[in-house]
Every structure is written in C-alpha cells, then in structure tokens.
Symmetry: C2
Subunit: 207 residues, 2 copies
C-alpha cells in the first residue's frame, strides 16, 4: 500500500498528450511522438493509460465538459439590465473560446471519427444546457413581451452566440494565413471581431 509520491510522469504525459492532440488531432498524434516529447519510453504511456484511445478519451471528456460548463459565465451579471447582461455574456463566452480556440475543432472531428461517443456525453450535457436556458429565458421572454426584443427562442439566441464566437477561431488560421497577418494584427482583428459579434447579435435581436 504505497502512497503515490511523485505522479509527475503520469501528469506530464497527460499534459503533453493534451497539447499534441489539440495541435494535431487524434490520428496525427502517435504515442511514440508523445513519448519523445515527454522524454520517456513509449511503453510508459501504455502503462499509465493502457491505450491511445483511452488516453484521448480522458483528455477529451475533461475538455468537453470544461468547454460546455463554461459556455456561459453567469456569475457577474446580477444587477445588470438585459442588454448589459447579454453584452457581458457574449463577451465572456468569446474570451473563453479565445482561451481554448482548438477545442471546437477537436470536438467536431471527434464526432465524425467516433459517432458512438455521442451517447456517453448526452447525459452529461442535459443539465448544463437546461441550466443556461432557464436562467435567462424568463428575462428574455419579458423583454419580448415588453417589445424591446423581437420574437426569438433562447435556443436560437444561444446558437447564434456560440456560432459567431467559435467560427472566428476556426476561420482565423485560414484568414491569417492568406493575409499573412502577424500576431499583433491578429490580436487587433480578434478584438475587433469581439465587438462586432456583440454588436451584430444585440442589434440582430431588436424588434
């Protein structure tokens, strides 16, 4: 009965794998490569995680959950009116995606690579989704009744926010590649699109 004294290797492997999987996807990343990057023997990866698939799943589940849990940060919105609330929500969702720009494409790819995985994730999401929906749905309905917002469902609103925010970071590599943007120009572009996304949605739901 030993106490794990230094679980460093196990963790280093996980972190390195996470980085590589996010950079290059599941199939383009080999356990051999992970081991080389970590600086350990390739068998060690299988010692801790048994299979590559399993290692990936550990990472994927974490990231997937993380990503969806923090879809909308609803802590700091008390005391704001609806427009202010929405502005804050869209912005903080944008910032979250900005911090994890590679996760969406990882998810999309994983869904085509392994469609069976869907079922195992369904349950985990149900709660999160309904929580978000109900939290501000009442307020949305009030705004609509008051005629300050056009008829639109919560689902559609959320969908539009997520769409515009994630797609920026999907398209960005292509655009910045084609236009040869440097890091600074990219930053400017990102910040500009942050404002634009907020603006187009706020305006887009007006009556």
């Amino acid at each position: 009965m030993e106490v794990k004294n230094n679980p460093t290797m196990e963790i280093v492997i996980l972190e390195t794998a996470e980085r590589l999987f996010l950079e290059k996807g599941f199939s383009m990343t080999s356990t051999t490569e992970i081991a080389k990057e970590v600086g350990c023997n390739q068998a060690l990866i299988h010692y801790y995680y048994r299979t590559k698939e399993n290692l990936f799943n550990v990472i994927f589940e974490t990231k997937f959950r993380e990503f969806f849990r923090s879809i909308f940060e609803l802590e700091n919105v008390k005391g704001l009116n609806f427009t202010e609330k929405l502005t804050y929500i869209i912005g903080s969702h944008f910032d979250m995606v900005r911090k994890n720009p590679k996760i969406p494409i990882l998810i999309f790819n994983e869904f085509t690579r392994n469609p069976d995985m869907v079922s195992s994730l369904k349950s985990k999401l149900a709660g999160v989704v309904s929580q978000i929906t109900t939290t501000i749905n009442t307020e949305l309905q009030n705004e609509i009744k008051a005629g300050r917002i056009r008829e639109i469902s919560m689902t559609d609103l959320i969908f539009s926010v997520i769409s515009s925010n994630i797609s920026l970071f999907l398209i960005l590599p292509v655009v910045s590649g084609i236009l040869s943007l440097d890091e600074q120009q990219k930053e400017i572009f990102i910040n500009h699109r942050r404002d634009e996304n907020i603006r187009i949605i706020l305006n887009g739901i007006k009556p």
Copy 2:
C-alpha cells in the same frame, strides 16, 4: 500515341477518394481503403496519382476553389434593392454550404495539417475576394450614407455571413447527435436556422 478510351477508373478513384476524404479526413483515409471501395488494386491509385498526398491535393484544390468561387452567387440579384439583395446572397450562400457541408472542416484541418499549403493558395484567392468586395461595396457605402445601415465594413459583413452559415453545419452533427434528431427534424432545424441567420444579419446591420 493512344487516346484515353475509358478514363473511368481514374475518375472513379477520384470520386471515391473525394467522398472518403470528405467523410473522414486525410489521415483517417488510407489508399488501401479507397481501393477496396473502388474495387480495384491498391497500386492502381498510385499508378494514376503517384502519392496519397498528391491525390488529396488534386481534390482539395478543386474543392477549395469551388467553395470560394461560389461563396456568393451574384447572378440573380440585379434589380433588387439592397436588403433584398443581401437576403438573396445570404440565402444562396447558405444553400451552397448546405450542399457541401463537409468542405469547411476539411479546409480547417488541412490548414493545421499542412500550413505550407497556404502560400500556394493565396494568389488563387486574391481575385475572388476583391471581386466580391467591390461588387456590392459601393452599394453598402450608399446605404450607410443614407442612414439605412449602420457603419460596418464589407469585410465584417461577409465575415459574419460566412461564419453563421458554415458554423451551423459544423455544429449540426454535435447537436443532432446529442438531441438524437432524425433526418426530418434536422431538415426543419436547418431551414429554421437559414431564416434565423438571414434575420439576425439583416437586423444586425441596421442603424
């Protein structure tokens, strides 16, 4: 000096490869699998296309060009006012993406798999982009001056249209997997989002 009598195999290979590459991406598709699907010997693929990379590039270049050339169909918009024009453009862009829902993710993945490819495609796009921009930019500026549209650049407008349209088809597999939507429900959802995308953008650029 023979005349190619039946180039069927060459073409069948190309079409099958296209389907598989779009379904599962570059690295998840093997030449062995393509051959099996075509019903020919695996060496035949290399006989016609030499390398898998090369076969992919042939397909990718075509699809990429096709996708960008038809980004905006500007044929049938004469005689319409600006709002009608924009409605038509967003809708037909949506329909184009709907017909080729897998191309965007193919492009995004290819850009991370092989960043060098960017340079070879730069030139091919310059023309297309500027053409689109200039065609309706004058009109957009007029609308802005007339106070019917808020201050927004052509680039931002195009960006928002492309974003909302492609991201639907990226997210769809995830959403429909989680919500277990059948084909009919998917159709309804897609059509609904088509309207919603048009609406949010038209509204989103109002003053």
